[in-house]
Every structure is written in C-alpha cells, then in structure tokens.
Amino acid sequence: MRGGEIAVARVARNPAGPARAALDAARRLRRRWRPLARRVVLGGLGVVVVLGLWTLAGMAVGRYLPPPWTVVANLLDHFFASDYLRGLGLPAGGYIDHVWATTGKVVVGMVVGTLVGGTLALAAAHIRWIGEAFAPLVAALGTLPILALAPFFLIWFGISAVSQIVLVSLYTVTIIYIYSLRAVRNIDARYGDYARTLGAPRRLVFHRVSLPAALPEMFGGIRIAFAASWGLTAIAELLGAQSGAGRAILSLSAVYDVTGMMAVILLLGIVALIMDGLIVMAKAWLTRWSAVGAGSSGGSS
C-alpha cells in the first residue's frame, strides 16, 4: 500500500521497453514542436503582411514613408561606420555604435535600479518602518511622469551619460520597488508559517522563502521597466547628450532624413527585443520550479 502511488509514478517516468521509450519521445517531441512551428509560420506570415501594408502605405504617401527595404538598406549602409553620420556632427561610428551607447546606459541603469529597488522592497516587506517611510516617496515617484525630471538631471549632471543613467535608474527603482513589494505581500502566508515552525530564522526566511517566491512577479516589473527604459533613455538623449541613439535621431531629424530615423528606431527595437528575450529566458530558468507560465514566451505583458 505504502509504495503504490510511487510505483505508478516510476512507471510513468521510465516506460517499459527502449523501443516504446523512443516512440514516446518522438511523439512528445512532435507534440511540443507542432504548436511552435505553427507559431513561427503564422508569425512570419504576419510580419510579411505588415511589411506589405507598410509598402502600400509608403506608395500612397510618397517620400514621407520609405518602404521597408530602403530602411533596411540604409541601416546596413551606415551600420558600422559612416562618413554621412560624421558629417552630421555625430561622434565616429555607425548606427550600431550609437545604439550600443544607449544599450550601455539602459543596462547600467536597469542593473542599478533593479538591485536598489529589489533590496529596498524586500527590506520594506520585512521591516515595517522602512515600508512606511518609503510609501509616500514611491507613491509620488510612481505617479509623476519620470520624464519630467530629465531637464533637472540635465542641469545637475550636464549632457554626460550620468544624466540618462540616473533617469533610468530612478524609473527602474520605482517600478521594481512597487512590483517586488506587491510580490512579497502576495506570497502565501503559509510558506512563512511553515518555515517558522521549522525553526528558520528571519534571514533564512528572507533569502530562501521570500526572495524565490517573489521572483516570478518581480520579473514582470523588470520586463516592464526594461521595455520602457529604451524610449526613456532615447528621449533623454534627444534633450541633450554626447552620444546614443537619441542623439543620432536628433541629428537625422535636423536634415529631415526619415529613412535614417526609422533605421535607428528599428535597430533600437531589435536590440530591445533581444534583451527582452534574454530576460524571458533568464526568468524561465530561474523559475523553472514554477508549475505555470515559467516557459511562456514573450507576447503577453
């Protein structure tokens, strides 16, 4: 009686013969890949349709909306190095160098913001007065469009990268703090009770219970903050910066080069997409214990 259900589970894990095992594996593989293949084919089709619509619209409005291949050709032309961009007064390098500069600022701002915001939120969840002290400040920062602070940072820190990094960090701290605090408060109280009856001291509960349990929801905040940081950094660069995608867009818009602007925005979007994919992968791995949604790809947010 005692081992009954375990025996059943064991059988399910290792089916009888190797031949059947192989058959099962093949079937499992097919079942797993068919929806994926369908998604890839349909998604590709969707992208083609959108590109087609873009081309048609471009034919209707003329030079205001260059067709996709012109934008891609422009992107490739000035990808690594470009005298044209230098002629606009931009620092040396092609689109990728400018987008890379923005990426650096976004990543630094995100890392700082996530560490600070996450730590503060976990502290606030465990120590009452910290939470109470931060509540009004975070409420104000969460309400105010953070963009409004950009000119301040420009005056305080000049047109160096610090201005943009501080802006992104502050935004990220706010978002991550709000999400993490909510995540920790949403943790089922049973887990904490159970850990405490096992004699776990606060520190152990903190990093073996609260942190992992809050992780899936914290990732939601990280993705939202990351997605918004690209635009935030770029517009801060438009207001005044020595380098970055925003700086390039500003110079291109001064000469009405719509193709170039679209190329930069496209490249920035692609980098953002890749980074988001990396975060989704990191989440899937770190929360692989989770029964639901751990492996869900992008799409929903």
């Binding site: 009770d193 009856t197 096992l198 152990l204």
Partner: protein, 266 residues
C-alpha cells in the same frame, strides 16, 4: 532534543471578527499530552482545532493562559515543534532534497550530517528516487510525504499536523496513514494530529480529543490493537467510540454510519 509533555493551561484565544464581535476560538483549554503519545483532535470545522495547533506551534499567541512544551514556555515558533499544514506548503522553488533539509539548515547542521539525515528520511518515506525532483513533478500525496519527511528530519520531539491528509484521495490517504504510523512507532515522537475524519482518528490515535466551540468536550483513550483494520474498527468498543464522538458532533442518529460498518442498531 529531549522529550517532555505538552501542557496547555487554561488557554483562551479571542479574535476580533470583522463585524466587531469578539469570537473565542479557544475558550479555556486544559490538557496535558505525555511524551510519545499520538493524539488526534476531532471536531467540526471552525471550532478551534487549527487554532489550538497554531497556539502550540507558537504561530498564534494565546490571549490568556500558557503553553509549555517539555517544561519550556512556548513564546514563538521553534524547531522543536514543526508543523505539517493542510495546504501544500512544500516550497515549490526547492528540489525535494532542499525541502527536506530546510529545517536542518535552519538549525545550522553541517553539510555531511545534513546529507546523511536527508537521505535516511527520503528512504523512510520512499522518495529516494525523487531527491532531485521539483515538487511540481510529484503528485499531491508524494508532496505530503516530502512534508512529513521534512518535519521528521528536524529531529523535533513534537510534531504538529493540521489535517495533513485532508485533501488527498481515499487510497493515498490510507497509505500515508500507514506510513505515519510506521514512522511514529520507530521514533516515538509526540504527535498532535488534527482531523475532521472520525475514522482517521480511530485508525491513528492513542487518544482522541473532541473539540466543540473552543472547548474540549471529551477525552477518549483508544486502546484498540494496531493495525486497526476494518475488523478491529467494527468491534463494539470501536463502534462505541465512534458513536460517542458522533454524539458530541450532533450526529446522534448515526444509523447510516453504523450500518455501513456492519453493525445493526436497535
């Protein structure tokens, strides 16, 4: 850890209900549980069984009265009184091994000894092959085995179980009851076991405490021989216990139950 008795001395526990009314979940409970006893608490839901367990665990402080375990006053949760909850509390973010060793880690037990203890208890509950599995890969009954292994592995003298098998299907529940009895016989821990299932209490307990409206209504010694299979549970003294409990629970005309157990009532 040394064993002693658990003593509850005039324990009251009052809550303020949302309506503003004060509700007495425990209303003067006096009971002494000697070391090594397996005690079942039965009673209707909402009548204080779980509160009693939480008070002993130190999760809920009593409004009045005191709890002593092994002569020491209970002031909060501690590793000598771990608890298995009705809900699934096995940490989903830890593999089975990490779950079972959590209590040992909390005590600061060294790596080698921890590994040895965990291996032993996984063996005891029959989960050796699943040491590296994630909880999501186990069935509900297997996760309960993990929880039972976890509390036993701590070496705690007192184990608290709050309807641990309540959500399981009939067959799984029987196998887990047998496993618990085996482990209890081997280790002679003191176990406080809450259940709403009179038959479960009859299978497990040395002693059954009946709770109603926050009070102990009855205290029944169960001296039936083990294992208590259907035949033993059909004996007149067993049926008498069942009837006695049913009377406390307001199920006086227990004819259907008695009939199912093959006993004719006049």
């Amino acid at each position: 850890m040394s064993q002693g008795e658990i003593v509850l001395d005039n324990v009251h526990c009052r809550f303020r209900h949302v309506s503003g009314r004060t509700v007495a979940a425990l209303d003067g409970v006096d009971v002494t549980v000697p070391a090594g006893q397996l005690v079942c608490l039965v009673g209707p839901s909402g009548h204080g069984k779980s509160t009693l367990l939480r008070v002993v665990a130190g999760l809920t402080p009593p409004t009045e009265g005191s709890v002593h375990a092994g002569g020491e006053k209970v002031t909060g949760p501690a590793v000598d009184r771990p608890m298995v909850f009705q809900e699934d509390t096995v940490f989903p973010w830890m593999r089975v091994t990490d779950n079972v060793e959590f209590g040992l880690r909390a005590q600061g037990v060294g790596d080698a000894e921890r590994r040895r203890t965990v291996a032993r208890w996984l063996e005891e509950v029959g989960l050796t092959d699943f040491a590296d599995s994630w909880p999501k890969e186990l069935s509900g009954g297997m996760r309960k085995r993990v929880a039972v292994a976890t509390v036993f592995a701590t070496g705690a003298p007192y184990l608290l179980m709050d309807e641990p098998f309540g959500a399981l299907d009939y067959v799984t529940r029987l196998s887990l009851q047998n496993m618990l009895l085996d482990l209890w016989r081997e280790t002679r821990r003191t176990i406080l076991f809450v259940t709403h299932d009179v038959e479960e209490a009859l299978v497990l307990a040395d002693r059954i405490l009946v709770m109603r409206s926050g009070r102990l209504e009855d205290d029944i010694e169960v001296s039936l021989p083990r294992p208590r299979d259907e035949d033993i549970r059909a004996r007149p003294e067993a049926v008498a216990i069942t009837k006695r409990i049913h009377r406390h629970l307001g199920l006086d005309d227990a004819a259907p139950v008695a009939a199912r157990m093959g006993v004719t009532t006049s």
